[in-house]
């Protein structure tokens, strides 16, 4: 006669009927929020690390702004009113002579033309 093996009901894990109630996971909303915040902080940290690394990279060309060279403020002496009137015409004629462009540049020609 075949022997029926019965499970001991005192050992619930071995019960094929699985009568034990499933453990209900209590969803704690505050914990989830905390997790999300933590993840966001980690992502931001990683992103800032990457950005700072890229910026410090030696391959990146940086344009150096030259230090401004101090220049003397030009004295305003072109003002005709501050030059005495008897000399104004003489100054004017000298300046006009300076400005006149007497240079007529020669034409660029092809000396091989016709060959």
């Amino acid at each position: 006669m075949r022997e029926n093996i019965y499970q001991n009901i005192d050992q619930p894990l071995n019960n094929p009927l699985d009568v034990t109630p499933k453990p209900v996971i209590k969803k704690d909303r505050r914990l989830i929020l905390l997790l999300i915040l933590t993840l966001a902080i980690i992502i931001l940290l990683v992103a800032s690390l990457i950005v700072s690394l890229v910026r410090k990279s030696p391959r990146r060309l940086t344009t150096i702004t030259p230090t401004p060279i101090p220049t003397a403020i030009p004295t305003v002496i072109n003002e005709p009113n501050i030059i005495p009137s008897p000399y104004q015409s003489q100054f004017k004629s000298i300046e006009e002579n300076f400005k006149y462009n007497s240079e007529i540049l020669p034409p660029q020609i092809d000396p091989q033309l016709g060959l």
Binding site: S102, I104, I109, Q112
Partner: protein, 247 residues
């Protein structure tokens, strides 16, 4: 009609050197047109090698050469007339250059008659060979004239500055302090003269028989330095004049 009249009035108002400059600019554009036409005809001949394309090429070459001579002549004329603006102080050197320029103007004119009678490629080639040897003295006189004209312009500036300095010195208000300032002018004046002399010496650069040695950039450097001293002298005089106004 009104526009034409206005144009005529404006043309009359333009100075003689300016008119010659305008004529030269017109000749430059004419030459460029003829030159492009010649290049086109030459390419067609190189491609097809026909008798007609060869004739077209020779005709285009003659037209372009005539246009080039006309342009060169108008340039030399503009350069010669431009001398008149400042030649009062330059003496015999300017006159010599003007005669030389005039001689090459005539030569360009004569060559146009010769080019008109060239009928084969061989004739044209031999004329071009001759032109290449003549172009070295032409360039020499061109750059000598350009340099001398600018020397003359600066000599005139120097003369005007000296006259102004004398006038300022003659003013009874000019005290010892200002006189000291004015006394430094002869040193700068000597420096200007030295720079202009250097520029003039460069025009005497010995030329090779087959190649033009261009001295103009070096002469320009000397002229620019002379300009610097002249500007400096003028600034000093302005300072003296302003000081006089404040006394």
């Amino acid at each position: 009609m009104l526009g034409l009249l206005l144009g005529l009035v404006m043309a009359q108002e333009a100075s003689l050197p300016d008119q010659y400059r305008q004529d030269y600019s017109f000749q430059v554009s004419e030459y460029q047109k003829k030159y492009i036409d010649y290049i086109d005809k030459k390419e067609i001949y190189t491609k097809y090698r026909t008798i007609t394309s060869k004739k077209d090429k020779i005709d285009a070459a003659k037209s372009a050469l005539i246009a080039r001579n006309t342009m060169l002549k108008s340039y030399l004329l503009a350069l010669r007339v431009n001398f008149d603006s400042f030649k009062t102080l330059s003496g015999i050197t300017t006159q010599k250059i003007q005669i030389e320029l005039s001689r090459w103007e005539d030569w360009c004119q004569e060559q146009n008659l010769i080019i008109d009678n060239l009928n084969s490629q061989n004739d044209i080639s031999s004329w071009v060979d001759d032109f290449q040897t003549k172009y070295i003295p032409i360039q020499t006189v061109i750059y000598t004239a350009l340099t001398q004209n600018q020397i003359n312009q600066r000599l005139l500036s120097l003369e005007l500055i000296k006259k102004l300095a004398e006038n300022l010195k003659a003013n009874p208000q000019t005290g010892d302090l200002l006189n000291d300032w004015l006394n430094s002018l002869p040193v700068k004046s000597d420096l200007v003269s030295a720079k202009l002399k250097n520029a003039q010496d460069l025009t005497q650069t010995k030329q090779l028989s087959n190649r033009f040695i261009n001295f103009y950039s070096n002469a320009k450097t000397e002229l620019n330095e002379a300009d610097r001293y002249l500007q400096n002298m003028l600034s000093d005089l302005k300072a003296v004049a302003i000081k006089l106004n404040q006394l």
